[in-house]
Symmetry: C2
């Protein structure tokens, strides 16, 4: 019987079903030692023989019988009758029980004279010093690290028995094109099984990606039967919802049973757990972040139940910068940027659109908000789950404020210093408020004041009395982007796309409208907001609107005409207390570096004469 | 000119030479997306097109023109004239600017009736929502994570330009046999270039391992010339010291120059930095842990200078449990076991023998003791460098005390629970002192008291008044291992090998000798100490000694005769405060688990009737 969202199962119930409803017996395979790195031992690994197998000299010198050296001293040289010359690593013959370093031996007509007694076992590496024959070198369930291979090679291990879980991945959807093909409008690149394979292989699974199948129950059924035969687990990508073209649940029900359809997680609700021939069959939703969530929260624990360990980086308590609201009843997982500002961890949610893969790319942590609550308020301390090591998260540089393509290039330069620049685009005013609350390291801004100056009047007004430095990135051209080369005064006759409230670009627009006495209503599309310069240029390029306001580099990147409206000072505001922070120091160094200047020259529209100039609030 | 240890270079000077003395220009290669996981981007990766490229429906429903929905309400149904049916993911035609969910639409004779106005852009995924054409998806220098592949696939990236450093690895040494060959006495398995390849490939390098070369300058020279031609960096394994068969420095000097011979690090002092055709040539010492240290402290920073990021897990401040002494003048790196006992991090050095690879296998941290000091005292707080994630280190279970092969099997069982059991073999008395200082989670012991009882009298004497629980692992047979089947009373006529002071086995021996009125001197080899049961059995098996005392399972593992001397209670002492610690709880569960009982039955010599019995100190 197909269950169609009759009941949505909680995540914890779904997980316990996965653990208890299946035998979860992993497969075992032998892999060559050098290929075993990252794999998980299927059984304890024992040394085949002792290392070393016999006593070896640990120094260059002579092997002696220690009791024959007794009595030797500075004033009492002893001539050793029975000795043999050995180099480091040579076998010490059984009759000897000590080595004397060659520097301490006087050689006289082929006789060895010593002036110091040798305790027994001096400078000898005893047999089995490293490991004894039959001793356990590695336990089972151990993920083999690169340096383990040296030890295993030395212990006589050439092939390693490792665990695996064979997972079949079936991409479904008539709209799919394979990756490498440029999708036509309405087509989608099949990327979810690519991601799934990469994630699961990293855990130690063995994946088979089957050919893409159109939304046709007969075709899906045929390939699902094959995949169940050939694997321990099958994942069907997409078609798991309850729409007219969603056949995953029907097909699973035909071949076996649907145990769960709909799990109380967001993103990822349309997930399915089915069983065919006693094997788990997972229906994975098609939205990339839904798929990612199901892989991380459902499939990874399943693979763990098969014995493959999952590395976790733990959690840190962090201050949430933005309120997150949600519906009661589902565990929600929010991808976030996490960083340390001063001695506090600060957590900023990224876009929650289930299609926004860049949120996954940008995130270094996630926040689980439990089913029972309606959300989390800004300012609360919440447990952030790290998705990178804590040491890496400690290198995150948090930039909040106005967006400019240059910020991405600063990220590129800083990545080479192992600093991860996390940029949150909330506009110049948003940056000021973040800086005020000390929730970011730096706030880029370009706010034109009444007196013609940039930024300082706003900082004085909103963060009075604080010790803040402004570092000039560049003076940049803002203007009108269009397909036809129109200027500011033509805007009223064309459709327009705006930037979000609080962005400096919008404030510049309002300023220019006010000068000319044009009302907002006169601008068709004034209410349509996007958050980046590139998004403005893109809406123009696709023909959605005729014009918008953005920086020159965004227009140039898309090959669109641009008419300059103003040149504005784009500065980064930094609290003085953070200037010595190594991350902030590297940011400042990057801004004034020659490679960055070259980038600005190449992108165009940036006047770099003021680049690097620091201003201090009066 | 060859420099032969004339001066030893400090590590920091050697590192700055590597950074400044070479151009360190990485190679760049294109790899298919799925093979790019773990590799490092050579340049920023930009989206080839916007995702989505056009506006898409985010819900199943109808696409509408939002201004035609104005005025709709519960009491004011509006019939929509112009609308089109869309499913999630369908293209929203350009004339529409909102989607209304199908659940909110009443369909009446093919007409759509709504009762709620739709704001513009409702339920639409705008073009470029995920990423805009030409937007930067990843910076350069980014190590590609598994889930990044999904995004890159979706953004039209099929091949990824990644950095690499081509590294040639030349194993030298006449004593080498290739891995898979059982070494004859005095031969050594060539494992260092296996380890080097695994470590360097994990960083993103491309390695070529050249055939093994005997200690012959002409042969080494020939292969070195080839390796320099074919790579960016060459590493010559072994032969880097100043002995009579160490030719690495000579050969480098013939083809180029030796910049450094001898670096003030331990282990790893004989390292060489040379330059041939402007390329770095590293001489890596032959001892495995010397090689590991040079790879980690010298080669890894070199690879970093080529642009390959190195993940670090940071440091924690930890209490050092054992004093470490060293010579002034060298930075010494000590491999350690790190764990958290209560709220303290506790750090225990592992064997420092440069041939003891098991120290690397067992370690999860290391301690750098700077050149200027003579060592570190027990009880000091020192910075421990993590070599696993902090979250993994937090799962370390520290067991200190008497050794039994069963401890390795408990490690095997606990690894499946992702608990890393770190066992330090210091004998039963050593365990008591560790427990007294609260520097371990559990202390295995088997100490026979005058009154015939085990362990409790010792705990009462040395840790009076503490709340300690004893968990019985088993009653185990201790006895005499030999090649000829001799018993205790034959010991005086044979050579013997002892266990270390403070071990329960040695105390049992002393007890049995005392009963029989036999003096220590009567036992030939009483002073020769090893630290494990297996090491005793091994010394017997190799013919080094005739007999020793150990547990039955060690004799059985090596197929040696065994004569029982006593059955003793092997218990684990645990402070009550740690019983609720999840790691300790899992340890207790493992001891009483059926798989563990099966292991004891299989190994033999363990009476399990008392297994799991808890005793509390009176």
């Amino acid at each position: 019987m197909v269950k169609r969202y009759l009941t949505v199962t909680s995540l914890s119930d779904a997980l316990s079903l996965l653990r208890t409803g299946f035998s979860c017996t992993p497969a075992r395979e032998l892999v060559p030692l050098i290929a075993s790195v990252g794999r998980v031992t299927a059984e304890p690994i024992f040394a085949r023989y002792s290392v070393p197998e016999v006593h070896l000299a640990a120094m260059d010198g002579i092997a002696v019988i220690s009791r024959q050296t007794r009595g030797a001293g500075e004033q009492h040289p002893v001539m050793i009758k029975q000795a043999v010359r050995v180099n480091t690593g040579n076998v010490v013959p059984p009759e000897y029980d000590a080595v004397i370093m060659i520097e301490e031996v006087q050689i006289d007509h082929g006789e060895f004279i010593i002036r110091k007694a040798a305790p027994s076992w001096q400078h000898i590496r005893p047999a089995g010093e490293d490991i004894g024959e039959s001793e356990m070198a590695l336990p089972s369930g151990h993920r083999i690290r690169p340096h383990d291979t040296g030890a295993l090679a030395a212990y006589g291990i050439t092939e390693v028995p490792v665990l695996t879980v064979r997972i079949g991945l079936i991409p479904t959807g008539s709209e799919l094109v394979s990756h490498g093909t440029r999708p036509a409008p309405g087509q989608v690149v099949e990327s979810n099984t690519v991601m799934a394979e990469a994630m699961l292989v990293a855990l130690g699974a063995t994946c088979t990606r089957y050919p893409m199948v159109k939304d046709n129950p007969a075709d899906i059924k045929k390939i699902l039967e094959q995949a169940v035969r050939e694997n321990d687990v099958v994942i069907i990508s997409a078609g798991s919802s309850a729409g007219t073209k969603d056949f995953t649940a029907d097909v699973i029900a035909e071949l076996g049973e649907v145990l769960v359809h709909g799990i109380a997680i967001k993103p990822g609700k349309p997930a399915i757990i089915g069983r065919i021939d006693r094997k788990p069959v997972i229906g994975m939703p098609g939205y990339p972040l839904s798929a990612l969530t199901v892989l991380r929260e459902l499939v990874t624990p399943l693979v763990y139940a098969f014995g493959l360990p999952v590395s976790s980086f733990g959690t840190v308590d962090a201050l949430l910068t933005v309120s997150v609201s949600k519906d009661i009843g589902s565990d929600e997982f929010v991808l976030c940027s996490l960083g340390q500002v001063g001695d506090r961890w600060v957590l900023t949610p990224l876009s929650r659109g289930a299609g926004v893969q860049m949120s996954a790319v940008r995130s270094n942590a996630n926040l689980k908000i439990p089913a029972g609550v309606e959300g989390c308020e800004a300012g609360k301390i919440v447990p952030a789950t790290l998705t990178v090591s804590r040491a890496e998260a400690e290198k995150a540089l948090l930039i909040t404020g106005s967006h400019d393509p240059l910020i991405d290039y600063l990220a590129d330069l800083l990545q080479k210093k192992e600093i991860g620049l996390h940029s949150t685009h909330v506009g110049s005013m948003g940056g000021i408020f973040s800086l005020k609350k000390n929730e970011c390291h730096a706030a880029p801004m370009h706010l034109l004041a009444e007196n013609g100056d940039y930024n300082i009047p706003y900082l004085e007004k909103y963060i009075p009395g604080e010790d803040i430095i402004l570092l000039c990135v560049a003076e940049r051209q803002q203007g009108i982007v269009s397909r036809t080369g129109i200027g500011f005064d033509d805007l009223v006759r064309h459709s327009f796309i705006n930037r979000q409230r609080g962005s400096g670009t919008r404030m510049l627009l309002d300023h220019e409208l006010k000068i000319r006495g044009i009302s907002h209503d006169a601008l068709q599309g004034y209410e349509r907001e996007v958050t980046t310069h590139l998004a403005v240029a893109l809406a123009v390029k696709t023909g959605e609107v005729d014009a918008g306001m953005c920086v020159f580099s965004a227009a140039k990147a898309l090959g669109l005409p641009f008419k300059t409206v103003a040149t504005e000072r784009y500065e980064i505001a930094i609290r003085r207390e953070h200037l010595d922070d190594p991350r902030v120091a590297e940011l400042c160094a990057a801004v004034t570096s020659p490679p960055f200047r070259e980038i600005m020259d190449r992108l165009g529209g940036y006047d770099t004469r003021e680049t690097g100039v620091r201003r201090v609030l009066p």
